[in-house]
C-alpha cells in the first residue's frame, strides 16, 4: 500500500515535470543533467528486471480442467502391492527386523507350498527359511533367514549396472517364484484362461481354510484392520471429485431441477462460482520499463517509444474489459433410453444471459463417469453476444446403468484474459440403458439338491422326467404308460422305462458389487461387476426357462433384493434391477459395506434349501468367507468367478496367487467354483464345466 502511494506521488510529480518541460523548457533543462538521467534510466531497468522476476516466480494461474470424456480407468486387482501383502498377513505380529512386505511374501510362499507344493505348514516354513523351496537365489535370499543362500555380490553389482534396484528385483523374483509354485502361467493379452486348474477337490480336507488355520487367534485371518467383514473404499481413482463441487458454498441454489430427460429449457442452476486472476499479462511492464530505461540511457527515441507499447498493453491488461457474466446451459439427448452399444448424441448449449458481450467462454460438459465420448468433443470455446447461444454435439455409447450428467464446468475470461471465473452449472439429464439378456446354450451347473417341484435339476436318480435314464423290471404300481410295450411284444418281459428325474431349484443369484469388484485387466475395458451383472442376467434367463425359481441379490452398500420367482413380469423386474440398481452401477458407489450384515440379512430372506450362485471376482477374503458361511448354514453355494487378474506387476501376480488360493480353499470346502477366464464366453466356460462334471 505504502509503495503504491509512493508510486502515485512519483507518477504525479513526473507528470508535472513533463508538463513543465513542454511549457517551460528552461526550467526542465535545469533538472535534466547527465546524472539524473542515468539514475532514472537504471531505476527503470531495475524495475523491469523485477517484473521479469515476478513473472518467473508466479507464472500463470489457469484452472485445470477435468477429463470427462474418458471413462473411469479400470485397474486389475493388486494395483497396490502393500494391500495385497496385508491380505496374507492379517494381524500377525511382526518380527522387528523384517519388513511387512517380507513377512507377507513369506506367508504367501508358505501358503502356496502348503497347498500346491506338497509341504506341511512346518516344512513349508522351514523350506522358506533355508531357501530350499526355490532355485531362484534372489527369491530365496529375500525371504529366507540367515541360513538361506545370500545373493552373490556379482549379481548385486550386475543389478546396479542395469539400473535396477536390487530390492525391487528381489521382490519381483520372489513373487514370480510364488506364482510358479501356485502353477500360475503368464497371462497373455487378452488373458487366456488360467482356469480349470486341477485343484484338490476333496471335501473335508484338513487344509480347507487357507491361512486362517495358521492363526487361530484371529477369526477372520487376513482382516487387516481388525474390523469384521468390513471393506473400506479402496479409492478406485475414478470419481473426479464431482462430489466436492456440490458443496453449497457460493450462491448455490441446491435445487436439482427434475426436468424431463429431453430438457431444453435454460433451466440450469449454478452450483459454485469462483473468480481469480490468471496472471496472463503479468510481466508486460518489462517492455515499458526496459524501453524507457534503455531509451533514456542511450537517448534514442525509437527505444524510448518501445515504452509506449508496453504502457499500452499494461493499461489494457488492467482494464478488465468485458468481464465474465451470467450464462446458462441446457442439454439434450437424442436417445435417452439407448440399447447397450448404441450411440447417443448429446448436445449441450451455452447461452449468454448477461447484457454484455462475453468474449471468452469455455465449456466442459459433465459427461457421466461410466460413459466415454466416442465422437465429437464435450468441450467448447466461444465468444457470445448478449442472448446468443452456441452448442457442441458429441456422441457417447450406451452402457448399462442409469447415467446422470454431472455439472458442466464453465470457465469465462474477460477480453484480456487476466481474470478467470470458474462456475459449475447443473442441468439434470439422464441416460438409462437397460439391457435384456439371452439364455445360455448350456445348462447351469447347480448343486445337486432340489425341491420337490419338477424342473431343471438333473438328478442322478431315475423317475419321472423326459430324458431316458434306464430300464428295470416292472414292479406293481408302475404307470402303464412307462411300460416298454415293444420289448414286451418281442420278449414277453414286462419292463419299465425310467426317466431321469428332474426337479426345480430355487436359486438366488448374488452379485458381488463391492468396491473390490470394480476391477478388470484392461484399463478401458469392462469391470468384473459388468461381467457379473451380465452373467446374472443370462443365468436368470437360462434357469427360469427351465422352470426354476430365481431371485437376485447384490453384495453392496445399497440394497438390492428380488425374491425368487419366474415369469415375464418377474423377468422384467430383474432386467430393470440389473440395469438400474445403484448397487450394480458401472462405477463404484461410496461407502462401506458389511458382509456380515449381508449374511444375516440373506438368511432372513432365504427359504431353506435355496441355492445360491455367487458371482464374484474373488478379490478379497470376505468374498470367499461369504460363500463359505452361507454354505455352512445350509444354502448350497456355487461360485462363478470372472477372473479379472493381470500379471503386469508383482502386486498383480500376488493378487492372482491369493485368488487362486481362495478358489482352492473353496473347492476343498466342497463349494464348486467356476473360474471364468476373462477372454472366454460364459457359454464356453459352462460347457467345459458341465463336461468335466459328467465325465
Amino acid at each position: 500500500m505504502n509503495r503504491r502511494t509512493l508510486a502515485l506521488a512519483g507518477g504525479l510529480v513526473a507528470f508535472a515535470l513533463s508538463l513543465l518541460a513542454i511549457f517551460d523548457s528552461g526550467l526542465a533543462r535545469l533538472g535534466l543533467d547527465r546524472l539524473l538521467v542515468t539514475v532514472i534510466g537504471l531505476f527503470a531497468i531495475l524495475l523491469g528486471l523485477r517484473a521479469i522476476q515476478i513473472r518467473r516466480r508466479k507464472g500463470l494461474e489457469a484452472v485445470e480442467t477435468p477429463d470427462p470424456e474418458l471413462p473411469m480407468a479400470v485397474q486389475p486387482p493388486g494395483e497396490d502391492l502393500e494391500s495385497v501383502v496385508s491380505q496374507f498377513l492379517g494381524s500377525q505380529r511382526l518380527r522387528a527386523s523384517r519388513t511387512r512386505l517380507q513377512e507377507g511374501l513369506e506367508a504367501a510362499a508358505v501358503s502356496v507350498l502348503w497347498r500346491y507344493g506338497g509341504y506341511s505348514p512346518e516344512t513349508a516354513r522351514q523350506a522358506v527359511a533355508d531357501g530350499s523351496w526355490t532355485s531362484d537365489v534372489r527369491a530365496a535370499s529375500y525371504l529366507g533367514s540367515v541360513d538361506a543362500p545370500s545373493l552373490p555380490l556379482r549379481a548385486q553389482v550386475a543389478d546396479l549396472f542395469r539400473g535396477r534396484s536390487t530390492g525391487r528385483e528381489r521382490i519381483r523374483h520372489a513373487v514370480d517364484e510364488i506364482a510358479s509354485v501356485a502353477g500360475l502361467e503368464p497371462l497373455g493379452d487378452p488373458a487366456p484362461g488360467d482356469s480349470d486348474r486341477a485343484a484338490p477337490a476333496t471335501t473335508g480336507d484338513a487344509r480347507a481354510h487357507f491361512l486362517e488355520d495358521e492363526d487361530p487367534g484371529n477369526e477372520w485371518g487376513d482382516e487387516e484392520r481388525g474390523d469384521e467383514w468390513g471393506d473400506e473404499d479402496p479409492g478406485n481413482g475414478g470419481d473426479p471429485t464431482e462430489g466436492a463441487v456440490a458443496a453449497p458454498e457460493a450462491g448455490s441454489t441446491g435445487v436439482r431441477d427434475q426436468a424431463p430427460v429431453e430438457s431444453d429449457g435454460g433451466a440450469s442452476s449454478v452450483l459454485s462460482r469462483r473468480t481469480h486472476t490468471t496472471g496472463h499479462w503479468r510481466g508486460v511492464t518489462v517492455v515499458a520499463l526496459l524501453g524507457i530505461g534503455v531509451g533514456i540511457l542511450v537517448k534514442q527515441p525509437a527505444a524510448l517509444l518501445a515504452g509506449v507499447i508496453g504502457i499500452g498493453f499494461a493499461a489494457y491488461a488492467r482494464s478488465r474489459a468485458f468481464p465474465p457474466g451470467a450464462v446458462s446451459i441446457s442439454r439434450s439427448v437424442d436417445t435417452p433410453r439407448p440399447a447397450p452399444g448404441e450411440p447417443v448424441s448429446v448436445s449441450v448449449t451455452i447461452r449468454n444471459e448477461s447484457e454484455q458481450f462475453l468474449p471468452d467462454c469455455r465449456l466442459i460438459d459433465g459427461v457421466p463417469d461410466a460413459l466415454s465420448v466416442t465422437d465429437g468433443s464435450p468441450r467448447l470455446g466461444t465468444a457470445l453476444r448478449p442472448g446468443e447461444r452456441a452448442s457442441t454435439t458429441y456422441t457417447v455409447t450406451g452402457r448399462r446403468g442409469v447415467h446422470s450428467f454431472g455439472p458442466a464446468t464453465v470457465i469465462a475470461r474477460d477480453l484480456t484474459g487476466s481474470v478467470e471465473q470458474t462456475s459449475k452449472l447443473e442441468t439434470h439429464t439422464e441416460i438409462t440403458c437397460i439391457p435384456t439378456y439371452r439364455a445360455l446354450s448350456e445348462p447351469v451347473p447347480l448343486r445337486e439338491q432340489a425341491t420337490q417341484y419338477v424342473g431343471q435339476l438333473e438328478t442322478r436318480s431315475g423317475g419321472e422326467g423326459v430324458e431316458f435314464f434306464s430300464t428295470r423290471n416292472y414292479r406293481p404300481g408302475d404307470a402303464k404308460r412307462h411300460i416298454d410295450w415293444k420289448r414286451h411284444a418281442r420278449t414277453g418281459e414286462l419292463t419299465t422305462v425310467m426317466f431321469r428325474e428332474e426337479r426345480t431349484a430355487t436359486v438366488v443369484l448374488v452379485v458381488d458389487a463391492r468396491d473390490y469388484a470394480y476391477v478388470g485387466p484392461i484399463e478401458d475395458g469392462p469391470t468384473a461387476v459388468d461381467r457379473s451383472v451380465e452373467a446374472a442376467g443370462r443365468l436368470y434367463e437360462t434357469l427360469t426357462s427351465r422352470g426354476n425359481q430365481v431371485g437376485l441379490a447384490a453384495l453392496d452398500t445399497e440394497s438390492c433384493w428380488i425374491a425368487p420367482g419366474s415369469g415375464t413380469e418377474h423377468g422384467l423386474r430383474v432386467d430393470r434391477e440389473l440395469g438400474t440398481n445403484p448397487a450394480l452401477a458401472p462405477v463404484p458407489s461410496e461407502g462401506r459395506s458389511w458382509v456380515k450384515t449381508h449374511v444375516s440379512r440373506l438368511r432372513k430372506r432365504l427359504d431353506p434349501g435355496t441355492q445360491l450362485v455367487f458371482i464374484t471376482p474373488l478379490c478379497d477374503a470376505n468374498a470367499s468367507r461369504f460363500a463359505r458361511e452361507l454354505d455352512e448354514i445350509g444354502y448350497p453355494v456355487t461360485v462363478l468367478s470372472p477372473n479379472a487378474s493381470a500379471d503386469r506387476t508383482p502386486g498383480h501376480q500376488l493378487a492372482r496367487v491369493a485368488r487362486s488360493l481362495r478358489i482352492s480353499a473353496l473347492r476343498s470346502a466342497g463349494i464348486p467354483v467356476v473360474d471364468w477366464p476373462w477372454a472366454d464366453t460364459l457359454d464356453a466356460v459352462l460347457a467345459r464345466t458341465n463336461e468335466r462334471r459328467s465325465a
Partner: protein, 164 residues
C-alpha cells in the same frame, strides 16, 4: 482409451509464430546482433509452441523483444522498431493463450471464435499503442524536448503501477 490432445490451439499458435516472424523481420534488417537475438528467440518460441511450454514462449518472445530494443538503441528507424516490439508482445500473448486454451479444452474442441476475438483485441491494442507512440514521436520532433517525453512515460508507468 486415447488421452486428450492438449497441444496448443492451432489458430493462436500460428498467429504467435507469424507475429514473431514479423517482429524478427522488422528489426533484424538493421543490425546483426539484433538479427541473431531475433532468430534465437524465434527458434526458442517455435520449439516452445510445438511442445506447449509457457516458459519457452516467454523466453523466446523476450529474446525477440531484446533484439528489437537493440535495434532501437542503435539508432534504428522508429517504425520498424515499433512494429517489431508490438510483434514480440503479440507473439507472447498469442503463444501463452494457445497453450492455455489447449490445456483447458484440448484440440478436439471448437475454439475458433474465442481465439479470433482474442487475436483481434490484442492486435488492435498493439496497433493503437504503436500508433500513439509514433504520434508522440512525430509531435516530439516538432520542437518539444525529449525530457517531456521521458517524464510523460515515467509518470504513465508509475501511475499504472499505483492504480493497478
Amino acid at each position: 482409451m486415447t488421452p486428450i490432445d492438449r497441444r496448443p490451439a492451432p489458430l493462436s499458435r500460428w498467429a504467435s509464430f507469424l507475429a514473431a516472424l514479423v517482429a524478427v523481420g522488422a528489426s533484424g534488417l538493421y543490425s546483426y546482433p539484433s538479427l541473431a537475438l531475433g532468430v534465437l528467440g524465434l527458434s526458442i518460441l517455435s520449439l516452445a509452441l510445438w511442445r506447449g511450454s509457457n516458459a519457452g514462449v516467454t523466453t523466446g518472445a523476450f529474446a525477440i523483444f531484446l533484439g528489437a530494443l537493440l535495434t532501437g538503441a542503435w539508432a534504428g528507424p522508429v517504425v520498424p522498431t515499433l512494429v517489431s516490439i508490438t510483434g514480440a508482445v503479440l507473439a507472447w500473448d498469442f503463444g501463452v493463450s494457445a497453450i492455455g486454451l489447449g490445456a483447458q479444452l484440448g484440440r478436439e474442441a471448437e475454439t475458433g471464435r474465442l481465439e479470433g476475438v482474442h487475436l483481434a483485441a490484442s492486435t488492435g491494442i498493439g496497433v493503437a499503442s504503436a500508433g500513439i507512440g509514433y504520434g508522440l514521436y512525430s509531435a516530439g520532433t516538432g520542437g518539444q524536448p525529449v525530457a517531456a517525453l521521458i517524464f510523460l512515460l515515467l509518470s504513465a508507468v508509475l501511475l499504472l503501477y499505483a492504480l493497478g
